[in-house]
Structures are given as structure tokens and as C-alpha cells.
């Protein structure tokens, strides 16, 4: 009987795939872990950055405030929009090169490829999330905010307790999307020598000159990861929709 995992002399492509996957399982495993690590950490930190930048972009300058506060808010808004524009209008692969070599060569800081890779992912995610967050905030009826303002709640607290929780719910699908994109986009980080999945396939393929088969292996891995995460996100989204009924507080019924 044919044992898939004991192919010694691979000939067909699928045999090569199994052969390579088995022989270099450690390398692929390490690559998968690093890809997940960078994607998860980069995305989460990127979300935080995106929320901060999105809120700054949404902030209105209150004409009645003192000049220093007004200038400070204006400056923040300018920095935020320059940042968002730059990162949305350049390719991530170029950002990776510039940030990595910029920090190493120009700033003379000994940053590791992995740290640089995370930084690039965070900055890139932040720029895209900022727009998403801004859109999410904009989709919440202004009356929600006015209701809180009218009772003396500050714009910041209103954002925190009223607007963001509602906007968050609306942009969960977009956040899931961003994570899946990042999972795949980490592959460009091979250009700064991050040992993620793509790099693993490149190295493995080079050993036997079997690039086609080697990349097929990681294609399967990327596919399985994205497919699984996608299913998880859909499940979470369903759960978040919440229940549609409520319990009457019977202890207060007699006061009707």
C-alpha cells in the first residue's frame, strides 16, 4: 500500500509537494508561526493605531477653545492625514524596504527584520483602518452624539461610550478583512529577510530547484489559514448580533 508520508523518490508534482512538506516540515512550521505572529500582532497594534488616527481625523476644532488647544488639534490632524496618505499611496513592499533600511542605515538602529516587519504591518494597517474607523464613526447618526453632549458629556467620552461601540460593531467585517489581507501581505516581508512562509518556500524550493511545488505547499497553508480564520470571524459576527428579546423587570410591574 502506498504510504503518502514515505515517498523517497518523488517524481510527480504532488509527490514532490509531500516530499518537501515532510522534509522541511520544521521550516514550514516556523514560517507559519512567524507569519501568524506578525499578522496577528501587526493587525492588533494596527487597529489601535487606526482607531487613534481615525478619531483624530474625525475630531472637530471647537472655535471657543483657547488658541494652544486649537493649534495642537490642528497639528495632530495634519500629521494624521499626511501619514494616512503616504501609507495608502505606496506599496507595502516598498514601505518595508524604506523602513528597514532607513532605520538600519540612516538612523543606525539595529532593528531586526521581524521587528521591522511588524512595524511596517502596523503602520500599513493603521492607515487603512483610520479610514475605516472614520467611515464607521460617520455612519453613526449625529443624534447619538447630541444626546450625550446635551447632558454635558465631553466629546471624548461620547466617542468612547456611545460612538465607538456602535461603530466597532459596524466595522467588524472590515477588520476581519484587514486581518486576512495582512496574513497574505506578510509574504512581501521576505524582501527584508523575514523568515516567514514565503521565505521558507523560497529557500526550500531553491534546495531542489522545485519552486512550483514548494510554493504550492505554502499556497495550501495560506489557504487553510485564511479559510479557517474566515469561518471563525463569520461565527463571531453571528454571535455578536446578540439576542432579540429582553426580560421584563417584573419587580417594577406594579408601578404601572
Amino acid at each position: 500500500m502506498l504510504n503518502l508520508f514515505s515517498i523517497e523518490n518523488p517524481e510527480k508534482s504532488w509527490e514532490w509537494m509531500i516530499f518537501l512538506a515532510k522534509k522541511y516540515s520544521d521550516m514550514f512550521w516556523e514560517g507559519t508561526k512567524l507569519t501568524l505572529f506578525i499578522a496577528i500582532l501587526g493587525t492588533l497594534l494596527g487597529f489601535v493605531l487606526g482607531y487613534v488616527v481615525g478619531i483624530i481625523q474625525d475630531a472637530k476644532i471647537n472655535q471657543g477653545d483657547n488658541i494652544i488647544k486649537k493649534l495642537f488639534v490642528r497639528l495632530l490632524k495634519i500629521i494624521a492625514s499626511i501619514y494616512v496618505e503616504i501609507f495608502r499611496d505606496t506599496p507595502m513592499i516598498v514601505q518595508a524596504m524604506i523602513i528597514y533600511f532607513g532605520i538600519r542605515m540612516q538612523a543606525h538602529i539595529d532593528i531586526t527584520p521581524v521587528s521591522a516587519g511588524i512595524l511596517v504591518t502596523v503602520l500599513n494597517t493603521g492607515a487603512y483602518m483610520a479610514e475605516t474607523v472614520r467611515g464607521g464613526i460617520g455612519s453613526i447618526d449625529l443624534g447619538q452624539r447630541e444626546g450625550a453632549w446635551a447632558m454635558g458629556m465631553s466629546p471624548m467620552k461620547t466617542m468612547l461610550y456611545i460612538v465607538l461601540p456602535q461603530a466597532f460593531k459596524n466595522i467588524i467585517p472590515e477588520m476581519a478583512n484587514t486581518f486576512l489581507t495582512n496574513l497574505k501581505m506578510t509574504s512581501v516581508l521576505n524582501v527584508i529577510a523575514v523568515q516567514e512562509l514565503f521565505m521558507a518556500a523560497k529557500t526550500v524550493g531553491g534546495n531542489y530547484y522545485k519552486y512550483f511545488e514548494s510554493y504550492l505547499v505554502i499556497a495550501v497553508i495560506y489557504f487553510v489559514l485564511c479559510f479557517a480564520f474566515n469561518k471563525v470571524f463569520i461565527y463571531i459576527e453571528k454571535k455578536m448580533q446578540g439576542k432579540n428579546d429582553y426580560a421584563l423587570a417584573v419587580e417594577y410591574m406594579d408601578n404601572q
Partner: protein, 246 residues
Amino acid sequence: MSETIISIQDLSKSFGDHEVLRKIDIDVHVGEIICIVGSSGSGKSTLLRCINKLERQTSGKIMFYGKEIRDAQKEINEYRSKVGMVFQSFNLFNNMTVLENCMLCTRKVLHLPKAEAFDRAITHLKAVGMAPFINAKPAQLSGGQKQRVAIARSLCMNPEVLLFDEPTSALDPEMVGEVLNVMKQLATTGLTMVIVTHEMAFARDVSTRTIFMDRGYVAEDAPPSELFSNPKNPRTREFLSRYLAG
């Protein structure tokens, strides 16, 4: 005349070159129930929004117990916590239950202890007949129920004045009564209220003073007995005849 809470002085407001409020002077005294009536577009909502600082006036000022309220955010927040507002579209927080709606600002703005905020919420929700619904979300309530919750939510702040902007205009006819009854009940407690409304019978019966607004001006400001039975201004007469006929 009792003490003046809010004094609106020479207030004007323009949107671009559209003058919506022109030189408004109104004093609101403790215990008064002022109804503001007038045709659509005469500036009633804008006036109320200026009083609450949701809209920035073009000129003139708003005094609160003799002190001018300037436009610094902190000062505005402090002032707003004492001047409640009930909106035509309720503006309940959609992500919160009825109870959370009523406790959020007492907790986060007034910094009341949880137990006290809870007690206030229950007291006022009981008064408007909404206590059994503390666990419901706004989307699960009818319009009339939402508005009663919104009123209770404002009352939790113990405001000096409560502003109402057409609180029954977004309601189905059969629900108007339940909200007006709550407001009539409130009127008997001595709470100072400024109410923009199209409910003429309510204005006539409940207000202590009725203001007719016309094209951004205060055209007439009189006790309802005078304004409704013997209007001085021809525009008031025209408005009332249109209203009472239609």
C-alpha cells in the same frame, strides 16, 4: 417675578447668509413653563439648540444665573449638565439598555456612586412608567416608550431647566397622549421647562407663557390666555387661525 435661570440676550444666528434667528431676547424664570410655537422654519429648533450650545450663535449671549456661558468646551459641558434636552428623535443610546441610558451620564458626568445613579434611574423610570423595561434596548421600544425613557434620562441629571424640541412630532398619533401626560405631570412638579411644540391645546393648557416665533423673530410673548384668545400680532392671529382651523 422669580429668579432668572437663563437669559437670552440679543441672540442672532445665521447659516451662511441665511438669518435664522434675529435679535432674540428671552428670560427664563424659575418654575416657568414656556411653550414656543410658530410655523415650520421659523427657527424654533435652532433657538433651542443655541440655548443648549449645540449650535453656536452668530452674536448675542446666553447667561446662566447671571453668568455668561462662553464657548470653551469645559464650560459648555458643565452648563449642559444642568440644562437637559429632549429631542424629537429621542436620541437614546442604541448600544445601551434603558437602564444604562439613564445611568451613563449620572455616572460619567456627575460621578455619582453606582447605587445612587441606579436609584435615580429607577425613580424617574417609574415616574414615566418605564421601569419594567430597564433591560430593553431602544430598538425594542415603541416611539412613545422611547420618548418617555428619554425624558427620564434627562431628569436623572436633576436639570435646572428641561428643553423639549417637538417631543411628540415623531410619534404615531396614539402615542402622543402618553408623552404629553408625562409632561403635564412634570409641569406640576415645579420643573422649569421650555417646550417647542405644535400641540396648541397643550401649549394653551399647560404653559405659563407662550412665545410665538415668526421668521426668526419673537413675534409675541404672552401668557397663553392672552396669546390664544387675544393675539396682538396679526401674524400670530393668522398662524393660530390656520392652526385651529386645520
